[in-house]
Each structure stands twice: as structure tokens, then as C-alpha cells.
């Protein structure tokens, strides 16, 4: 069996993400077209190479807006929102999982039952409720998105802690007076890093899709501003006659997911003491 070299692939992942982030940040420099102004005469033009022109390399959408421009500008919003949501979900989830597993008892029960209760409610219902109470600010959106993601992290970490907690040598060390908690953390965190990275890098796409699904609550991006999520939902009605509308942002999301996957796997290999 050939051992995988983490190096080059992780670098590829990092480079991919880097390119996407920089391109989105530099959106106005990379595209002169206006991403929000409609031009009726230019509706649904195909991308370059499929009958389109260089002035609209990725084609135009249902209002004649340049897709390349919308992709770049939209990337800013989607990247920030989705990444924040993933980070928040991961952070909260890991913390909750640790608390649950290490402290056990009432804390464990409360957290896990809270998770159960929250998961019973469809995200859309929670979102409507949250909007009615706190409004539609981006922070509220990030909050709602994270709500949908923290439980998986929490459960994974908790399961791992439970496995490690009762290991014989941990118990022995505890009997000898060493802090069991610190030992557990030293053992748990490296072990749990791998699945957490996997899950977090998978969640980016889910967050973007959720954002698109919530935009009609006034959360997320209101038209005509672009985001990958809204571009996806706008493209939904045109899949049979102008498929590039929905496919282009989908590919962008795939690229980010690929980069995150590669980077995540690479990070895991690098940080995992066992694989050295």
C-alpha cells in the first residue's frame, strides 16, 4: 500500500481556495460588467465556446447580466457567509461535544436533548421564527446556518470522547493523580481532528445551498444583488434551456468544496501525530 503524500495535494487545495478568494475579492478589477443592471437585449446568452462572445465569457442570465461578473461579486458574499457559518458551527459543535463527553451527566443530557429538539424542527421553520424575532440581518443568517450544522460536530466529538475517556491508561493516569481532563483533550483532539475537518469541509456547500433556500425570507441576499445561492435558485427554472445559469455557480461551489477537501485532508495528515 502506497502511503499518500499529504504535501502536494494539500498545497493544490490551498492554492485553489486562494485563487477563488482572491478573485472574488478583486471582483471589480476582474470584470468590467455591472452585475446588477439588466440588459434585456442580452438575455440568456450562452458562454464562450458554446455560441457566446468574449464580452460575456460565461454567458448572461435571465436579465442579461454578465455571469462572470455575478460569479465574482457573488463569491464575496457567499464565501464570507458560508465560511463564517461553517466556522461557527464547527466551533460551537466541537465545544458542545467536548463538554458533553467530558462532563457527562446533566450537561451531556441537556446538550444532547437540546440537539434532538432542535433537529426536529425543519430549518425553514426555525428561520421564519428567528426572522420574526430578530429580523433579517446577516448575523441572523449566519446563526441560522450554523444551527443546521453544529450537531454533527457535537455528536462526533462526543462519541470520540466517550471512547477515549474509559481507556485503561487514562484511568490509570487519573488514579495516579494526573488531570484526566487534560489527558483526554490531548488524546481526543488529534483523534477527532480528522472527522471534524471532513465534516467542516463538506458543510461549505450545504451552507451556500441553505443560504439560497432562505433568501426568500428576506435573509441572505435580496435581489438584484448576486450570491452563488441566489444564482443557483434563479438558474433552477432554466435548466432545460439555459443550463449555464445554474451550473456555473454549482461548479464554483464544487471548486471550493474540492479545495476545502484537499486542504482538510492535508491538514489532517500533517497534524496527526500517528502518521509521522
Amino acid at each position: 500500500m502506497t502511503a499518500r503524500r499529504p504535501g502536494p495535494l494539500a498545497a493544490v487545495g490551498a492554492a485553489l481556495l486562494g485563487v477563488i478568494v482572491i478573485a472574488s475579492a478583486a471582483a471589480p478589477l476582474l470584470s468590467a460588467s455591472n452585475p446588477v443592471k439588466p440588459t434585456f437585449s442580452q438575455r440568456l446568452r450562452p458562454p464562450l465556446g458554446l455560441g457566446g462572445t468574449a464580452s460575456h465569457p460565461l454567458g448572461t442570465d435571465n436579465l442579461g447580466r454578465d455571469i462572470w461578473a455575478r460569479l465574482l461579486h457573488g463569491g464575496r458574499i457567499s464565501l464570507v457567509l458560508a465560511t463564517s457559518a461553517v466556522l461557527l458551527a464547527t466551533g460551537v459543535g466541537v465545544l458542545a461535544g467536548l463538554l458533553s463527553g467530558v462532563m457527562g451527566g446533566l450537561v451531556d443530557d441537556l446538550l444532547m436533548r437540546a440537539a434532538d429538539v432542535q433537529l426536529t424542527f425543519p430549518v425553514i421553520m426555525l428561520a421564519i421564527a428567528i426572522v420574526s424575532v430578530v429580523g433579517t440581518s446577516p448575523i441572523a443568517l449566519v446563526g441560522v446556518l450554523s444551527l443546521s450544522g453544529w450537531v454533527l460536530h457535537a455528536r462526533t466529538v462526543r462519541a470520540n470522547v466517550l471512547t477515549v475517556w474509559r481507556l485503561d491508561y487514562i484511568e490509570a493516569a487519573g488514579a495516579l493523580g494526573a488531570s484526566r481532563h487534560r489527558l483526554v483533550l490531548r488524546h481526543v483532539l488529534p483523534n477527532v481532528l480528522a472527522p471534524i475537518l471532513v465534516i467542516a469541509s463538506s458543510q461549505f456547500a450545504t451552507m451556500v445551498l441553505l443560504e439560497s433556500g432562505l433568501s426568500f425570507l428576506g435573509m441572505g441576499i435580496q435581489p438584484p444583488a448576486p450570491s452563488w445561492g441566489t444564482m443557483l435558485s434563479e438558474g433552477r427554472d432554466y435548466l432545460s434551456n439555459a443550463w449555464w445559469l445554474g451550473t456555473v455557480p454549482g461548479l464554483a461551489i464544487s471548486a471550493v468544496v474540492l479545495g476545502a477537501n484537499l486542504l482538510g485532508d492535508g491538514l489532517r495528515d500533517w497534524l496527526d501525530p500517528q502518521s509521522r
Binding site: V36, K37, P38, F40, S41, R43, L44, N62, L63, I128, V131, S132, S215, F216, L217, G218, Q222, P223, P224, E234, R236, D237, Y238, L239, S240, N241, A242
Partner: protein, 513 residues
Amino acid sequence: MRANVTRLEAIGRRELLVGVGAALGATALRLGPAAAQAPAAPKGEIVAGVSERALTLDPANHYSISATSVLRHIFDPLVDVTNDSKFVPALAESWRPVSNTAWRFVLRKGVTFHDGTPFNADSVIFTIKRVRDNTKLIKAFAYQDVENVEKDGDYAVTVTTKRPFGSLPAHLTMLGMLPPAGAGREEEFFQKPVGTGPFRFVKWTHGESVTMAANPTYWKKGVPKVAAVSFRFITELSTRAAALRAGEIHVIDRVTPDMVQTLKASPGVRVLDTPAIEAQRWIFQLAKDPVKDPRVRKAISLAIDRNAIIKDLLLGYARPVDSPVPPGLIGHTSFGPKPYDPEKAKAILKQAGYQNLTLDFVLMKDIYPKQLEIAQAVAAMLGEVGIQVNIKNLEVASAREIRTAGTYDLFYSGWAHMPHDPDWYFGQWFTKMGAEKLTRFDDPKVEQLVADGRVPDPKVRQAKYEELERMIWEDETELWPYYSVAIYAISDRLQGFEARRDYYVLLSEVAIR
């Protein structure tokens, strides 16, 4: 539980086959001495894929286009309406206004319900009194003006009303007649409804499909032409279109202009369109600054290029408006098209002293095709004259709450004249009480005309409505961007399908090869 699904389906199929078999058998029995004139036995099954779920099988308990389509096959109303808005006899052979507040209906003889009981005046009395008295029913409010329903022998009925109710026959086109036997056990009855219609109920899976089999003893000869009809509720347009293209269903409704090309290019598929009796109308919050100022409304109207919307966004599948009421209905008249003049709009705003206006444009999610696209186009157009528009595309309940609360400037809406009569539209939106929690409309002169237009005499109604419409047209009380066009796609195996202007999918006179 898995087995249950297939078993249920099997039962459904079995019931369907029994229904069909009975229909064919009964029809075969009819062939005899009259064989030479007997119409061909109904055969084949038509499956329609419609976008809206039918939520109930009680004709009095919904105002949905989809349920109206489905129920028109099981029930007959007293009066039918043709595609060009002519009222024709159904279960009533004739009707006339006896006075301003009374209508007399002469009923058709020899009609039986699917369970064999006869249709007569008792059914009419039961049906109308029920919808008036049971305030839990969705249609109840439309019949509160009914004072009494009295029979005049078994086949004539007089309906007296508290105030003039000229549109009563129009409303009755949407009210299927019920057998009095349904009284007292309504919940059970409407799970397996019995009517006089061209099809008998077979099966209903909530939110998924309704299946019906031909009624062999239907009072109209030659109808129905097929042995069974099913309505499947498929909300996703792409899926509906795919099912049609794959030959799994035979009719779909609510096709969008962008889908037309793909469908036309599909083998075995035909696309039909017709101007609908629906006017898009975007309503203003008439008690709120700045849109309560008619000059602002005028400027907004001038700034919108309706032709661009019709031509570029709707690909020609819309008609320019020339009055608040669409053509074909009583009350339609022609004031000429609304002009597009952004320069004049800018001038009006400047003169009236408005600068940097910001408006909230609220939409209800997924109600009208391409609404978000059109709203964005309009936002851009208004931006050209210096009005900033914030689009709020919200889920329906929240949007309606905002409308009730009055925290909107412009609200994306439309009005399909389901009863083929504008009286309901005027009564709701152009009277103070009706519009109170909606547009906050308040104009006593217009309101008087609405009341005057309620009399049965069509000439009087036309005159009053024209006067009323002139006032609101000039005042720009609402924005009327275009009249909708209804687009259907059908399998080319269908014969005799009529693309209806009221969005109903009616299949009793349609055959399938």
C-alpha cells in the same frame, strides 16, 4: 408499511378498472336500437399534471383554480361559463332576474347524482343555504347577501338577496350542486364525493392526485369522451414538463414563456396559449408616504416600460393593458395603453419636490411566473428616474402580514377573475371596508359606483364600471403592467382540448387517441 403503498395503489387501480369497466359496460348496454346515433364509447385515460394542489373536494370550501378544475368533473354547477365568458346552461336550463334582488332559476330535469338520487330544487336549496350558513367554508363570505332560497315546484328556485347581486350567476359557476343526502355527514361525504358531473370520484391521495371514472349516465350526450381522468399535482415546472415529454401525462398548465421553446421542440407535444382573464396589478399602500401622493404614482407608472417587460421578459406571452378589467368581461373598456415616459416621470417628481425616494416592493414567493425577474427589471427602470427600490421577496404568510400592517409601498399582485365577473374585484379592493387592511383605499364616489354596479342589468353595470374605471385609471390607484397569457402544453394524442382563459383544465369534452 411498504406493502401498504403498493396495496393501496393496487386498490386504486382496481377501483379504477371497476369504474371503467362499469362505465364501458353501461355504455355498451346503451347501444341498441339507438346504436346508429350513439356516440363512441368513452375510452382511454387522460392524466393532467397541474401545478397547484387541490386541497379539498368540497366545491364550497376553496377558491383554488386547481380544485375548481378537478371538481368541475365530479360536480355540475347551475351555470357554466364558456371560454369567451358567455354564461350557458348547466344544471339550470335558464335563469333571469325577477327584480334587482331576486333571481329565478329553472332547473334541468332528468338529472341524477352518481348514487342514483335525482337532482332537483332540494339540492339547490341545500347547496346554497349551506355555503351561506356554514361560516367555516371558504366561499361563505361570497354568499352572505343571500336572503332566502325558495323552491317553486321541484324544478325551479328563486334566490332573494339582501342587496342587488348581479354577479350571482357568475359566482354560481364555481359552486357544484350537492345532494342533500350529504347533510350531517359532510366530512365523510367529501372524502368520497357524489355529484352529477361527467366523472365519478374514484380515489384521492391528499396533495398527490385525484382519479375519476366516466359517468355513464351523464345528462349531456357524448360526454365524457374518455373512460377515466386523473389529476396529478406536480408543483415543479421542470418535472411537469419532463413528465409530459416522457409521455407519462397528457396536459400541463402554468407553462412559463421560457419553457415554450423546449416544449415545442419535443416530439409529440403541442403548446397552446390564450390571453387569460387575469390582470397583473401591483398595489400601492394608499395611506403611506410617498405613494399616497397621486403624482408619485403617476411618475412610477410613467417610468415602467411595460412593452419591454412583455416583449423581452415574457417573450410576448402577455398583453398590454388598456383598462383595469381584462377583455371579454363585463366592464372592459379601452382607455388606450399606459405610456412609457421616463423623462416626464423625472419632471413630475422634480416638480413635486421628491428626491431620493426609496420604496419597498414586496413579493409573495413563487406566486407568479417570473415575478422576481420582472420586479428586478422594474427596480432598474425606477432607478433610472431616481427612485430606489428595495425588493422584498418573502414567504407568503409574512408578506401578507406586511400588507395587513401596511409597511409596504408597492406589493406585487394579480387578479384572476375566476367567476368571469369583476364585481368581486371592485367590491374587495375599491371599497373602504374591503381594502381596509390591504391598500387602505377610500373614495366614496368610486365606492358608490361599485354599489351601483351590482344590479343585474348588464347595460347599467357596464356604464357604472366604465365610469369607475376611468377614475381609478387616471388616479393610478394601482399599477396595471400587463394582462397574463395562459400557456398549456398537451400531448398531440389529445383531441378537442381547449386552452382556457381562466386557467381551468377541463377534460370532459376531450378525447385521446
